[in-house]
């Protein structure tokens, strides 16, 4: 009697979690597994418009990858995308942290106003926001040029922001930062509320100034939040697509304005080379894993510690 009752609960305990995992695994396999495997298979094929319309797709081994590896344009796009994603993610994090500190420092009413404004920016549909941003930066009637032009000695009348890659990506970066700062600010603000007042007070008594408290106490304590937020930002900014596409529609169709997302789209659905496009997608997957690897390892180490 006592033997069975001690045996039964563990057995159920082993089986139930497994059964409960099944729906999640099935959904993951269907939702993620199928596209990834399709990508991998297609990246090894010669897959063009004819294949899209039913012709058998011949396997070409790693031909697509070899072609890509020797294509300087791809490496230019990769370098550009990495630079864009690192700069944008770092600035997003910096501005988000400052805003979260501000949120923690001000009184209730200004904080609410700040939070509501951030939420509005966060909840704005991308296409609507992009349309307004493109108007703001419009060469002829944009508010940005109008305002800059009013500064004495500055001539920004009809300055075309989208006509050189540097200013194009600066605009893209500003827009992406604007869209992602709210998430960072809220996450870090949530982290800040977990920093205990006693510790800060003790530090203050020991003579630590504001910067010292931030650098020596707050930052180490919210490090895990910052790490995960930065990782997410890096991944999002690497995959950025809608913003770049819409800016390109308003500006140049030229390849110098492509990032990985638009480059893949151009290769695939516009030039109808799905094999090559899949190969680049796999490369992006590899870059994403490489970026995340470092962070996941350090997170795991933190957990062990």
């Amino acid at each position: 009697m006592s033997a069975t009752s001690t045996l039964r609960p563990p057995r159920r305990g082993i089986r139930t979690p497994h059964v409960l995992l099944i729906p999640a695994i099935v959904i993951l396999l269907l939702g993620m597994g199928y596209p990834v495997i399709w990508q991998i298979v297609t990246s090894l094929q010669q897959y063009g418009l004819a294949q899209q319309f039913g012709k058998p797709a011949p396997f070409v081994g790693f031909d697509n990858y070899v072609t890509l590896a020797t294509n300087p344009q791809l490496w230019a796009v990769v370098a550009r995308s990495l630079l864009f994603c690192i700069v944008t993610a770092a600035l997003t994090l910096a501005i988000g942290t400052l805003l979260s500190l501000l949120m923690a420092a001000v009184g209730k009413v200004p904080r609410l106003i700040l939070q509501v404004s951030l939420l509005l920016a966060w909840s704005m549909p991308v296409v609507a926001a992009m349309t307004v941003w493109i108007w703001l930066f419009d060469r002829r009637r944009g508010a940005i040029n109008y305002l800059l032009d009013m500064i004495p000695g500055v001539n920004m009348n009809r300055f075309d922001w989208l006509s050189t890659p540097i200013t194009f990506f600066a605009v893209a970066s500003i827009i992406v930062i604007w869209m992602s700062v709210p998430f960072v600010a809220f996450s870090i603000y949530a982290g800040l509320t977990q920093v205990s007042d006693e510790v800060l007070e003790a530090a203050q008594l020991d003579g630590a100034n504001g910067w010292g408290r931030f650098w020596g106490i707050i930052l180490p304590m919210i490090r895990p939040v910052i790490a995960i937020v930065l990782l997410l930002q890096l991944i999002w900014d690497l995959r950025v697509f809608t913003q770049i596409t819409m800016l390109k529609d308003a500006g140049s169709k030229s390849g110098e304005y492509d990032l990985l997302g638009t480059y893949i789209y151009k290769l695939g659905t516009s030039s109808e080379d799905f094999g090559m496009a899949s190969a680049v997608s796999i490369l992006v997957l590899a870059i994403t894993i490489a970026l995340s690897w470092f962070y996941i390892r350090s997170l795991l180490k933190d957990d062990e510690a």
């Binding site: 495997i37 298979v41 319309f53 039913g54 797709a57 009637r141 390849g255 516009s270 030039s271 109808e272």
Partner: protein
Amino acid sequence: MKRKIGVVALATASLIVLAGCATATPPADTGSKNITLWVMGGDTPDALREYLKTEYASATGGTLTIEQQDWADALSKLTTALPDPENTPDVTEIGNTWSPTFTSVGAFSDISDMYKDLGGSKLLQSFVDVGAVDGKNYALPYYFGSRYVFYRKDIWTAAGLTVPTTLAEFNSDVATLKTAGQSGFYLGGEDWRNGVSWIFANGGDLATKDGSTWKSALSSAKTQTGLEQLQALYTSASLAPVTEADSTPWVNINNNASTGAPEAATIIAPGWAHWSIGDLTPDPKDSTKTVATWNDATFGAFVLPGVDGGAAPVFAGGSNIAISAASKNQSSARELMKIIFSADYQKMLGANGLGPANLDYASSLGDDQFAKALSDSAAGSKLTPAAPGWAAVEGSGLLEEFFGKVNGGGDIKTLAAEYDKKIDALING
């Protein structure tokens, strides 16, 4: 080990699923009377759409749904929707320059048996050719348009200029009209669809066919001459950004609401742009919009002159129309084709400024200055190469890139050699 087997099993399963997709056979005709037509952009006016819906309903008792696709996304949409019987439009308009690509991969149904009834040899031949493979007809012409020049009579007259008769005269006239705030001739740097006229006018080509393979011809001597003229023209006459492609040039020739002056003294645009050009007055139906009324005292139109006078060959714009091979409603789709190629509909196309596919009805374009400019410029107009990979060349943005770099002041010879190589990699499909 178990896990490995699982992965292999999954991979095999996916392959089987994939194979199932790839070998989809043409679906059986379900004979539904309700079909979908895709039109590209706003080129087909609402009145014509209504006509098609009513005529189709009375001919078959079914419903015709017309869906408009943006020109900018059309290539991607066609690529993904046409092979899929569940999502394909039954009948679709398709840009004439994309017809060879989609026709040669088997996207459309063979309608050779209807060809004669739909107009046969009366249909615009160059458009029929781009939609045919091995003597069978798949895509037929829908409408044609061509580009001609719109100019500000007031500005040209004030500068003591008259309508130019040669291309060189045009180039120098518009250069003198450029001021700090006004383009003599508004042309975007990446706008190859208009810029190509200077190549064509000098006897050049974008690509030529050698036996059965196509080769990009940007480096050929005549094309180079055209590109040099274009570069000089862009530099001396246009204030448009080098990154601007084929857009809505007519907004630049109308008076700007805030300055009361136009952005440009001259533009080149498809013929139907004349509906958007003129004196602007508030739209009585919607106060946030304006309507343009053509004013002969201020505006004029002429055909881009050729190198030795006459008309320069411009880019032959227009569309083809075809039945999707994956459509489940082939017989209903054929009914719609009959309505589109009926005398009434062809005349309605002409009355709305679109060149009718059946040239017997070309007179329906009327005899005003626009109709005259349209037929004069269309007579010498040229299509882009009918190469199987041409849609990929257009989709890749290489032409925008090349023209942008040329107009940005790049070295034409070096650029041409570079882009010849890039285009050659795509042009044969």
